[in-house]
């Protein structure tokens, strides 16, 4: 497949850029943050986004979506990254809709995906438990009960957890920590007795929750797919999630770089614009090269999702690792090259490094994915 965008994709990208800049950009993020907004996004803006059909981009047409695929969603997420857009696109579309589609039964897909695609309900993945992404170490227990399962344990880093209507909860029904066998995905509605959802305030001011399950009872129909066999579907969901987050990081890092280059052309010291100094020029040029590499690997990984490429796991880890590295470098260089003003809250560059750090961490950071890339490369 050619590594270029189609005309249709370019149009989608441009319309996403326009709407997000106007309705869900840095000023809106600041306003939500300063108001101490619990959800971290505006339901009203989300409805407008839903009217454009974006939540249905990756959802198959058979379930009420656009069936447009992940390359298209990646372009929208890239724009969201550029604008630091506070929306549930990541939690509910990139991860939530994908989890249902990859793990759910036919009945679950039919019941939920049309509403997810319409943006009417939000589904979030509840996976991480400890300080680091380690899905095979899932310890939250689902014990078989009379007509279903009883859940006990806790989850953290549940994206937009306060706004979610349903959770896809990854639980252990068999096996020991560290094993991929015995993991089960369960569909749990918010508000079920015994489940508490607590807001967690993270550095990026977005909506994130921690969940606690105390004897939460769910029916047998909550099981997604087959009990104990969630790993393949979860694994693909995570690959897709990481490629999508890499797209967000691509937009974020590119925008941070643009802000920085613009500042280099404007700021004067020693009687010259600082962008004329070779020490800064070479660092900017190196970063430009890294961003070009980043763009290529993200596009290749997005296309691999839509093409069902067997190399997706390796490409997903490659894209996530590369984008973690490049986004970290772009935001760090961004602050350094802005100088003192880059340390102030008033300037936007600081918001970029904050969001980058959270996205870097979600579903495995640089260290996790570089290790996985090496393993999948045979060493």
């Amino acid at each position: 497949m050619a590594l270029i965008l189609t005309e249709e994709e370019v149009m989608l990208r441009d319309s996403a850029a326009g709407l997000l800049a106007e309705k869900a950009g840095v000023p809106q993020l600041r306003a939500l943050r300063d108001a101490g907004d619990e959800l971290g996004f505006s339901r009203e803006v989300w409805r407008e986004i839903a009217e454009l059909g974006w939540p249905g981009i990756p959802v198959p047409e058979a379930y009420g979506g656009l069936g447009y695929g992940y390359t298209g969603l990646g372009l929208v997420l890239e724009q969201a990254g550029r604008q630091l857009s506070p929306t549930p696109l990541q939690s509910a579309v990139l991860v939530g809709a994908t989890a249902i589609n990859e793990l759910g039964t036919e009945a679950q897909k039919q019941a939920l995906l049309p509403a997810v695609a319409a943006g009417e309900i939000l589904v979030s993945l509840a996976l991480q438990e400890g300080p680091h992404h380690a899905p095979e170490h899932t310890a939250l227990v689902a014990t078989a009960a009379a007509d279903g399962f009883t859940l006990n344990g806790s989850k953290c880093l549940v994206l937009d957890g306060l706004a979610a209507d349903h959770f896809v909860v990854i639980a252990r029904t068999a096996g020991a920590a560290g094993e991929t066998e015995g993991l089960t995905a369960l569909l749990v509605p918010a508000g079920v007795p015994g489940l508490t959802v607590e807001r967690r305030s993270l550095v990026d001011s977005r909506g994130v929750a921690a969940l606690r399950f105390i004897n939460v009872a769910v029916g047998a129909d909550a099981v997604m797919g087959e009990a104990g066999a969630a790993w393949p579907g979860l694994s693909r969901t995570l690959d897709i999630a990481n490629v999508g987050l890499a797209s967000e990081l691509l937009g974020l890092a590119t925008r941070a770089f643009e802000l920085t280059v613009a500042y280099l052309k404007e700021r004067k010291q020693f009687g010259k614009v600082i962008g004329s100094f070779q020490g800064l020029q070479h660092r900017a040029a190196e970063l430009f090269a890294e961003l070009e590499l980043a763009r290529s690997i993200v596009l290749q990984a997005l296309q691999a999702i839509d093409a069902n490429d067997p190399d997706l796991p390796k490409l997903a880890s490659a894209a996530k690792a590369k984008l973690c590295e490049v986004a970290q470098r772009a935001t760090n260089e961004g602050i350094q090259m802005h100088g003192g003003i880059g340390m102030t809250d008033e300037y936007d560059i600081g918001l970029y490094i904050k969001r980058a750090r959270v996205v870097q961490h979600c579903f495995g950071d640089y260290n996790y994915h570089l290790d996985r890339f090496a393993r999948l490369s045979g060493f």
Binding site: A2, V273, S276, A284, K322, R375, S377
Partner: protein
Amino acid sequence: MNNLEQFRAETRAWLEENCPLSMREPVSGFEDIYTGGRHPEVAHPDQQVWCERMAQRGWTVPQWPREYGGGGLGKEEAKVLQQEMARINARRPLDSFGISMLGPALLHFGNEEQKLEHLPPIACGEIRWCQGYSEPNAGSDLASLQTRAEDQGDHYIINGQKVWTSYADKADWIFCLVRTDNSGSKHEGISFILFDMASPGVTTRPIRLISGSSPFCETFFDNVKAYKRNLVGEEGKGWTIAKYLLTHEREMISGFGAAPKKSVGESALEILGADASGRLANGILRQTIAQYQLDALAFSATMSRVGDEAKAGQGLGAASSIFKYYGTELNKRRNELNMAVGGEPALGWEGDVYDGGGTSRDWLRSKGNSIEGGTTEVQLNIIAKRVLGLPD
């Protein structure tokens, strides 16, 4: 059957019949590549047979016009020929600076007479060319070159010295940058001229590198006569042609960044072994290799992306400006890793037990990649100024 399919069928049949079996084996090294010339170096007699047969059809340079010794093929046909040659692993019949560099420049900038005189001998491998660009005091700052060409009516008299002239000791003719005028800015007054290396007053001396013997030479001109009919483009406007050719050269060199068949990580696993979890035993080396392989993968995706964008008519994007810089730096990283992974055998310099010192010599030679054809620093200057628009 449409025309292209018919062309494919005919090409396949012709190649089957005419490509010697020995020319369907991969080349064993640089010395196994046929470069032609008045005194050709022939590693196998079939090289000349293969070159002659292909040249008769114009297929040593398939897309050049027929009147200049080319095959006159369109893009699609040339692609078919390439695919059909690849199908039977046929080697390229002829590889030379004439084909890769001077030819495209002459097609672009030469007059009709020059094209008719010089292109056919390139196409059939009769004349081998070398490039006279760098001078001892004109490296990164190429435009400050000082080799003088004095106007003598119908010819010039050339005096000066070139350096890093690849294969000057083996080439028949040279395409050379000379100064015809000293009065203006350094970019003006440079001319692009062709002359015979057998002319009186030309001497060459091979250069030995840190990696051992090399194709590079120092080349001296002492009152060498060059005819004006061999001046390409206008007098004093040679810098435009020089830049055009440098772009070509940089594209060739950046290709060194392509990933090798067996990955560094796999070689490392064979030599150093795995830990209990199956990972390469040395975690620090493993990380460095993974970083290299990740960048190599992203770099080759970038080469593909830029190629696809150009094919789709989106032009050569800004991304192409990074190729020379990034490709050569990647190649240096790969060679450093080959040394780290290889250990004692990689340190070998001579002898069969060390494969002639291949690993260490390649490692040392790779250091030149980020210097030749525009240093990494010059490339970064170009990106900063022309792509990012940062001021002087």
